[in-house]
Amino acid sequence: MFNGKSHRFLTRRDFLKASLLATAGMALAACTPKVVKETVVVEKEKVVEKVVTEAPAPKGKTVIKFMQGFQPGENEYPFFEWARTEYNARQQAVEVTHMDSPRTDMMTVFQTMSARGDPPDLLIAGPINSAMARSGVLRSLDEFVDTPINYGKDPNTAWFKVYNQALIEMQKVDGKHYGVPCEGAYTFVIYYNQDFFEKHKTTPPKTWTELIKVADVYKAAGIAPFTLAGVWPYYMHWWFFTLAQRTAGTDALVAAMFKDKATSWNQPDFLLAAQEIQKLRDGKYFVDGFQGMDHIASHMEFLSSRAAMDFVGTWFPGEMGGSIPADFKYASFSFPAYEGGKGDPTFAQLWANNIYNTSTKYIPEAIDYLKWWSSDIVQDQQAEMLGTVSARAGAKCPPVQTGACDQVANAKGVAGYEFDIYGFDNKLESAYQKAAVEFFFGTTDAKGYVEGLDAAKQAYFKAKEG
C-alpha cells in the first residue's frame, strides 16, 4: 500500500513518532489536574447520557432535573409530561426537564450521579428507602411541610396537611420527612370483572365466607375465580400475609414477619390462614397453569375474562393501562374481613410512591415543583390519566378504584412493613417467597408452610447475626 510516493510523505519513523506523541498526549491528559477533571466529567456524562436523555435546557432559566423512571411509550409517561409542561407554562424563571431513565437502571444512574456530586434535583423512587435517606443523598423536607401549598383550590393550606396523615407519619425516617407521597397511594385490593359480577348476580364480598361463596359461583360456571402469578411469587405470599393479618392481627403478623425473632409462625392463627389458602389451592380456585405465569400473563388472564378476580396492588390500572381492552369493565373491593379474626378489617398495607427532593442546589424551585405535584390539579389529573389512587385526602377517585379509595380513606391502621424502613429486607422476603411457592404449588401443606416460614426466618437471622 505504501508506494514510493507516499513514503516521502509518511515514513515509518514519522508514523512511530506520531504514535508516540499521541500516546504521550493521552498520558499527559490523564496526569494533568485541570484536564483530568474535564476528562473524567466528560467520560461520566457520556456514560450517563446512554441511559438518560435530557431535554435541552433553555437559556436564562433555572433548570430543575427530574429523574422519573418512565420512558416515552410507557403508559405513565404522558401524565408526567403533562405535569411538567403545565408547570413550565406557569413559570417565568424555572424550567423542569425530565431525565427519562428506565426504572431498572434508574437507581444505578442516580447512585453514579450522586457519587460524582451532581444528582438530579428531584427523583421519583417508590416507597421511602431508609438506607438512601440515612446516607445523606436526600434532603429533609421538615422545614417546608407546614408552608403553604401555593397551588390549586386550597393554596394556603399547609403542604403536608393535604395528605393522608397516617401515610405521612409512616414514611418518616428517624423522625424526619424525606419524601412527598404525590405519585399515588398503593395498597392491595381485589379487582373483579364487572360483567361477570352482573351476569352471575354476585356482589363484592365483605367477608372471607362471602368471598368463597362468590368464588364458588365462578367455579361452578367454569370460570377460574382468581388469577395468580407463579413465576412472580410476590402475590402468592401477599395472599397469605393479608389473610394472616385478618386472622392474627397486625402486631402478631409484623412480629412474626421480622420484628421479633422469637415469635413463631407456627401458631393457630397463622395456621388457620394457611389452611384457608390451602382450601383455595386444593379446590383449584386459582387459574389453571398459574405456576408457569409471570405477573403480566396472570393479569392478562383476568383482562381476557378467563378469571373473575385478581388480587393485586392499586398500581394495576397504571401498569396494565395499554393492555386493558376498551370494553373491559372492572372495579375493586377491599380484602375481606375474616369472621372471628383478630385483625382490624380496615387495616391496609399502604405505601406511597414518593418524589424526593435530592441534594439540590435549587431548593425553593424544587420544593415548588413538589408542591405543584401535591396540588389537587395534578392529583386529579393523575387519577384521570392513570387511574391512580391519590394519597391526598379528598382527591378524585378513578371509577375502577372505588374500593381502593375507600380502603385508603378508611384505613385505621396502615403499615409499610414490606419495605426496608421496617426491616423487612430482600433476603428475608426472598426466603418467604420461596416458602410461598412451595406451598401454592402443592409441595407442602399448610402446616409445612408455616414451618417453612419459621425455618426461613431463623436461617435469615442466623446468617445475619453470624
Partner: protein, 299 residues
C-alpha cells in the same frame, strides 16, 4: 531490528489499549475485590467489614443452591452442547449431507439472535395457557402432558438448559468446523488405505487431533455457562422458589435489589458472590488448560 527496537515499535501500539483496559477493566475488577469486603448500600460511604460477607455467603443456602444449578448446567449442558456441536460439525465437514450450507446456517442462526429475544420467544413457547408446546400437546391428543412448564420446580432448570443448548450448539459447531478444516487429508487417505472405518477414523485420528480445540471450547463453555444471566433472568428470574437461580442471577438480585426500586441493595454482599464466581471460572479455566492444553498436536 533488535529486541529493544522491537519493544519501542510495539509499545506505542499497545499503550492506548493497555491504558483503556487498565482503567475500564482491571481497575474496576480490583475495586470489586475491595467492595466485596464492605457493607455498602450504594449510597454514602462503604463500611469495611473484612471477610464478613464471605463468612455469611458460606452459610447461605441460596448460594449453594445457585452453585449446584450452575454445576448442573455446566456438566449436563456442556456434555450435550459440545457433543451435538461436534457431531453436527463432523457430519457437515464430511460433506455427506446434501444442503450442508443450509443446515450450517440453520444451526448457527440462533447464535445471531439476541438472548433477550430468545428468552422472550421461548417464554411464549412454554406459556401454560397460550404456549406453543401445550397447544401442540393438546391438539395431538396429548393434553394430559400439558403443564405449566416454567412453573414446574423439577423441570424448570432442565428446560432452561435445553433453550441454552438450542441457542449455543450452532456457535460451537462453527468453531469445531474451523478446527476440523485444518486437519490434513493425507492422514484420512492413509487410514482409508489401511481399511479403517468411519468410527475408527474418528476415534484414532479426528478426536486426538481435535483435542486442543475441544479443550479450548470446554474452557469457553465453562466461562459462558457460569456467566449465563439474561436467558434465565428473563424467563424465570431465577424462580420459582429459586429453582433456576444461578450465581449470576443471585449476584444481581442481591447486589442490585431489583425486586423494586426501593429495595435494599447489598452491593458488598453481591460483589462477594461475583468474586467467588470469578474465582470459580478462573480456576476452571486454568484446570481445563492444564489438563488438556499442553500436548502439541502433531501431524
Amino acid at each position: 531490528m533488535g529486541r529493544r527496537g522491537r519493544n519501542i515499535v510495539i509499545l506505542p501500539f499497545l499503550a492506548p489499549a493497555v491504558i483503556l483496559y487498565t482503567v475500564f477493566f482491571i481497575y474496576p475488577a480490583l475495586r470489586a475485590f475491595y467492595i466485596s469486603l464492605t457493607d455498602w448500600s450504594g449510597y454514602g460511604a462503604a463500611k469495611f467489614v473484612g471477610l464478613k460477607n464471605f463468612a455469611e455467603l458460606f452459610r447461605d443456602k441460596d448460594f449453594y443452591g445457585a452453585l449446584r444449578h450452575n454445576i448442573y448446567l455446566l456438566i449436563f449442558g456442556g456434555i450435550v452442547t459440545l457433543s451435538l456441536a461436534f457431531l453436527f460439525a463432523v457430519l457437515l465437514w464430511q460433506g455427506r449431507i446434501r444442503g450442508a450450507g443450509f443446515f450450517r446456517t440453520l444451526l448457527f442462526s440462533p447464535s445471531v439472535v439476541a438472548p433477550v429475544a430468545i428468552a422472550v420467544t421461548w417464554t411464549f413457547v412454554f406459556s401454560p395457557r397460550i404456549g406453543l408446546l401445550n397447544g401442540l400437546l393438546r391438539s395431538t391428543g396429548l393434553g394430559n402432558l400439558a403443564r405449566p412448564w416454567l412453573g414446574d420446580l423439577k423441570l424448570v432448570l432442565s428446560l432452561l438448559m435445553i433453550v441454552g443448548i438450542w441457542s449455543a450448539v450452532g456457535y460451537y459447531m462453527v468453531l469445531f468446523l474451523a478446527g476440523l478444516q485444518r486437519l490434513p487429508q493425507d492422514l484420512y487417505d492413509a487410514a482409508k488405505v489401511d481399511g479403517a472405518g468411519p468410527v475408527a477414523t474418528f476415534f484414532t485420528i479426528t478426536l486426538p487431533l481435535m483435542r486442543d480445540v475441544l479443550v479450548t471450547l470446554i474452557g469457553l463453555y465453562t466461562i459462558g455457562s457460569f456467566r449465563t444471566f439474561d436467558l434465565i433472568w428473563i424467563m424465570t428470574g431465577g424462580g420459582p422458589a429459586n429453582a433456576s437461580e444461578t450465581l449470576a442471577t443471585y449476584m444481581y438480585r442481591t447486589a442490585l435489589g431489583v425486586v423494586r426500586f426501593s429495595s435494599v441493595q447489598r452491593i458488598g454482599y453481591g460483589t462477594a458472590v461475583a468474586v467467588i464466581l470469578f474465582l470459580i471460572v478462573f480456576v476452571a479455566t486454568i484446570l481445563s488448560q492444564r489438563l488438556g492444553g499442553r500436548q502439541e498436536v502433531e501431524y
